[in-house]
C-alpha cells in the first residue's frame, strides 16, 4: 500500500511540472475589470495564434499592490512568472536586483529604440539594456464626465480652471446628482492629487516636489494650498466613497448618477465596454489647470529571468507586445494610447486621438512628466510616503499643514 502511495505521489509531481512547457508564457497582471480583461484577451489571442499558450495569473487590486506581493514570493522561491505587468520604478527596482531578462536581441531586431518615446525608455531599460516591453501610455490628468448631466447643466466645454470644475460638481449636486464620483483608496486620492498639484502650483513646482523631492517645496505654502484645494474637492463627493474601487466610481458616471470622475484614462475602457460613445455619452477633458501637461504612467510587461527553455516563448511575447497591430488593437480597448509613436490614430475614438496628440505635444514640449500617484515620479517608498499623507488629509486625520509636514518627514525616511 505504502509503495503505491509513494509512486502515486511521484507521478503526481511529475504530472504537474510539464504544465510549464516551452511554448507557454505565464503572465501575472491585475487587469481584472471588464474593460481591462477585454484588453488582455487581445494579447492572449495574438499569442495563441502563434501557438504560444497563455497561462493567466490575474491578481485583482488596482495599482497592483497585491500583484507585487505575489511576484516577490515567486521570485524569492526561484520560480518567477514569464512576465509581470508592472509600473515605472517597480521595474527598475527589480532590474537592479538582477531579476529581469535581457531583451536586447528582440529590441534591436525590431528597432524599439526609434519608436518608443524617450521618457518611456527610462523605465523600460536598465543599464542600457531592455528589460521590459511597454504596452501603453496612460495619463492621469483626465476628467470623465456624464454626457447627460453636462447637457442638463448646459455645460458644453471644459471650464478654464479647477475652481470652475468644482463649480460644475456643485451645480450637479444642486440638481440632485452626486457631485464627484470618487473611490476612497489611497492610490485614487493620490491620482486626483497629481492633477490638483499641477493646477495649484504649476508644472515646475510639481517636478520640484515629486521628482526632485525638494524638502522646502514639499513643506510649503503651495502644498498647503494644493491640499486645501483637494479638501474643496472632498466636499463634493458622496458619503459612501470610502474603500470604493475605481471602476465602481466610473460606473457612477456611466449610469449618470455622478457628474464626473477625475481618473486616469483606463476609465475610458469602462465607458467603451459599457457601449458608450466618446463625445456623446461621455466627455474627456484634461483636468482644468493642467492643460498642456501630461502626467503619464505606462503599463509594461517586465520580463523575468526564466530558464532558457522558457526564453523563446518570452521573446515571442515581447515581440507581440511591441507589434503595431497589437498596440493599436489593445489600446483601443484599454483606453490608453500606444507606447510607440509611429502608429496611426485612424482607428481611435475622439478621446484616444486627443490623448495621442497631447502625448506627442507634451513629449516635444518637455511637459511629459511621470505620474507621482502611479509610481512614475519616484521610487515606491517615496510614492507611498506621499500618498499616505494625502489620504490621511483626505479622510480628515491631518490638517493641510500637518499633512505637508508629514510628507517632508516620511519622504526623508523613504530616501534612506
Amino acid at each position: 500500500m505504502k509503495k503505491y502511495m509513494t509512486s502515486g505521489l511521484l507521478a503526481a509531481t511529475t504530472l504537474t511540472t510539464p504544465a510549464m512547457a516551452e511554448d507557454s508564457v505565464e503572465v501575472l497582471h491585475w487587469w481584472t475589470s471588464g474593460g481591462e480583461a477585454a484588453a488582455v484577451s487581445v494579447l492572449k489571442d495574438a499569442l495563441e495564434a502563434k501557438g504560444v499558450t497563455w497561462n493567466d495569473m490575474p491578481v485583482a487590486g488596482g495599482s497592483g499592490e497585491a500583484a507585487m506581493t505575489v511576484v516577490r514570493s515567486r521570485v524569492t522561491a526561484g520560480n518567477p512568472p514569464t512576465s509581470v505587468q508592472m509600473l515605472g520604478y517597480d521595474i527598475l527596482e527589480w532590474a537592479s536586483q538582477g531579476a529581469l531578462s535581457n531583451l536586447d536581441a528582440t529590441a534591436e531586431a525590431e528597432g524599439w529604440g526609434d519608436v518608443v518615446p524617450e521618457a518611456l525608455q527610462f523605465f523600460a531599460k536598465h543599464d542600457g539594456h531592455w528589460v521590459s516591453a511597454p504596452v501603453n501610455v496612460h495619463s492621469t490628468n483626465w476628467v470623465w464626465t456624464s454626457g447627460k448631466i453636462m447637457e442638463e447643466l448646459g455645460v458644453t466645454e471644459a471650464p478654464s480652471d479647477f475652481v470652475g470644475l468644482l463649480d460644475i460638481a456643485k451645480r450637479a449636486q444642486d440638481a440632485g446628482y452626486i457631485g464627484i464620483a470618487h473611490g476612497g483608496q489611497p492610490w485614487q486620492e493620490a491620482t486626483v492629487f497629481d492633477s490638483v498639484a499641477i493646477a495649484t502650483g504649476g508644472l515646475d513646482w510639481y517636478k520640484k516636489v515629486f521628482i526632485e523631492l525638494d524638502a522646502e517645496a514639499i513643506n510649503s505654502d503651495i502644498m498647503v494650498t494644493a491640499l486645501e484645494n483637494l479638501g474643496a474637492y472632498r466636499e463634493l463627493v458622496d458619503d459612501n466613497f470610502s474603500g470604493r474601487d475605481w471602476n465602481l466610481a466610473t460606473a457612477m458616471v456611466i449610469t449618470d448618477k455622478a457628474a464626473f470622475q477625475i481618473m486616469g484614462d483606463w476609465a475610458k475602457g469602462e465607458f467603451v465596454n459599457a457601449g458608450e460613445v466618446a463625445g456623446e455619452d461621455f466627455q474627456c477633458w484634461r483636468v482644468p489647470g493642467t492643460e498642456g501637461a501630461v502626467t503619464f504612467n505606462a503599463d509594461q510587461f517586465a520580463m523575468f529571468n526564466v530558464g532558457d527553455d522558457r526564453k523563446p516563448a518570452q521573446a515571442e511575447m515581447a515581440s507581440s507586445v511591441m507589434s503595431p497591430e497589437f498596440q493599436v488593437a489593445f489600446n483601443i480597448v484599454k483606453g490608453s494610447v500606444p507606447a510607440r509613436i509611429d502608429v496611426s490614430d485612424e482607428e481611435f475614438d475622439a478621446c484616444g486621438r486627443k490623448g495621442m496628440a497631447d502625448l506627442k505635444a507634451a513629449n516635444e514640449g518637455g511637459t511629459l512628466v511621470g505620474s507621482q500617484a502611479q509610481g512614475h515620479a519616484n521610487i515606491p517608498a517615496v510614492k507611498t510616503a506621499f500618498s499616505d499623507a494625502i489620504t490621511a488629509f483626505f479622510n480628515g486625520e491631518l490638517t493641510a499643514e500637518e499633512a505637508a509636514e508629514e510628507m517632508a518627514d516620511t519622504v526623508a525616511i523613504a530616501q534612506q
Binding site: 499592490e65 507585487m68 506581493t69 516577490r72 521570485v75 524569492t76 527596482e93 527589480w94 536586483q97 476612497g184 483608496q185 489611497p186 458619503d239 459612501n240 466613497f241 470610502s242 474603500g243 521610487i379 515606491p380 517608498a381 507611498t384 499616505d388 489620504t391 490621511a392 483626505f394 479622510n395 480628515g396 486625520e397 508629514e406 518627514d409 516620511t410 525616511i413 523613504a414 534612506q416
Partner: protein, 289 residues
C-alpha cells in the same frame, strides 16, 4: 536501547521543524531589521536605523494607538459577554448543547468570511442602513465603517462576534469545575443567586480569566485578515494595526527593514504578555505536584 531513546527519536523531527520554521525565521526577521533591506532581503548592517525611523513614523504611532483601543474594547467586551453567556447556559437549560454550538460556531469561520459578511452588513449603501431605509425608517443612520472615528469599533464588533463563543466555552468549563458542595452549602446558608455568583463563583474563575485574557491579547495583536477584508486599513489609515503596518511596509512599500523592525516590536509586545503567563503557569503546575 531503542526503547530507551524512542521518545527522543520521535520528538526530534518535530522539534527540528519548529526550530527552523518558527524560531529560525524569527531570528531571520530580527536580523533583517538591522539591515537596509528594501525590495528583497539584503545584509548590509545599518544598526538601529530602522527602529529609529519606525518610531518617527506617524503611521506606526497610529497603529499602536489603534491596537491599544482595539484590545481594550475587544477583550473587555469578550470577557463580559462570554461570562454572561456562560452563566446563562449554565442554568441547566433545555437543549444546552444546541445553544453552545450556536455561540461557538462563528469560531469555525475564517476571518475572511466573517469580515466580508460584516463589511456588507455594515455598509450604509447595501447593509443595515439601507434596509432600514427601505422599511421606511428614513432617519436611521449607521455608517460607522465609513467614519474615521468609528471604523475601528466596527472591527471590534466583528471580532467580538467571532470570538465571544470561545470565551464562553472557556468560562463554561471553569464554571463546571466549581465544587458543587460549596454552592449547596451557600444555598443552605440562604445566599441569594447574585451573591453566590459575585462572592463565590466569579472569584474562583481567576485562572480561567487569565487564560482567556492571554488568548484574547494574542488574538488582538495578530488581527490582520479581518481588517484587510473589512476596511483595508481605511478610511485613510484609521484602522491600521501593527500587523497591517508590517505588511504594508514590508510588501507594498519596499521598506522591508522597517517592516521587519515593526514585526520584532510586535513580537516584543506579545512576549511581554505571554512570558509572565508561562512563568506563572509553570509555577502553579509545580505547586500542584
Amino acid at each position: 536501547m531503542l526503547k530507551r531513546y524512542l521518545p527522543q527519536i520521535v520528538i526530534t523531527p518535530g522539534t527540528l521543524l519548529v526550530a527552523a520554521g518558527v524560531y529560525g525565521f524569527i531570528g531571520f526577521t530580527a536580523a533583517i531589521s538591522f539591515t537596509d533591506s528594501k525590495i528583497l532581503p539584503s545584509f548590509n548592517y545599518v544598526g538601529l536605523r530602522n527602529y529609529e525611523n519606525l518610531f518617527k513614523l506617524k503611521a506606526w504611532d497610529i497603529a499602536v494607538a489603534n491596537l491599544l483601543t482595539f484590545s481594550v474594547f475587544y477583550i473587555a467586551i469578550c470577557c463580559v459577554l462570554g461570562l454572561l453567556l456562560a452563566i446563562l447556559i449554565d442554568q441547566k437549560i433545555r437543549a444546552e448543547s444546541v445553544f453552545r454550538s450556536i455561540y461557538l460556531y462563528p469560531m469555525a469561520l475564517s476571518f475572511i468570511v466573517t469580515g466580508t459578511a460584516w463589511k456588507w452588513f455594515l455598509d450604509p449603501g447595501i447593509g443595515l442602513e439601507s434596509v432600514m431605509h427601505q422599511f421606511g425608517w428614513a432617519s436611521f443612520e449607521f455608517n460607522w465603517i465609513k467614519e474615521r472615528e468609528f471604523a475601528l469599533y466596527t472591527i471590534v464588533i466583528a471580532a467580538v462576534w467571532q470570538t465571544v463563543g470561545f470565551a464562553m466555552a472557556l468560562f463554561l468549563a471553569g464554571l463546571r469545575g466549581i465544587d458543587s458542595e460549596m454552592l449547596k452549602a451557600a444555598r443552605v446558608d440562604g445566599a441569594k443567586i447574585l451573591q453566590v455568583y459575585r462572592r463565590i463563583i466569579i472569584p474562583q474563575l481567576g485562572y480561567t480569566f487569565v487564560s482567556v485574557m492571554v488568548i484574547l491579547v494574542y488574538n488582538a495583536i495578530r488581527t490582520y485578515d479581518l481588517i484587510v477584508v473589512m476596511t483595508n486599513g481605511g478610511p485613510g489609515r484609521a484602522t491600521w494595526l501593527p500587523s497591517v503596518f508590517m505588511y504594508q511596509y514590508t510588501f507594498t512599500r519596499n521598506q522591508m527593514g522597517i517592516g521587519a523592525a515593526s514585526a520584532v516590536m510586535m513580537l516584543a509586545l506579545i512576549a511581554v504578555i505571554v512570558i509572565p503567563y508561562f512563568w506563572w503557569e509553570l509555577k502553579s503546575q509545580g505547586k500542584q505536584k
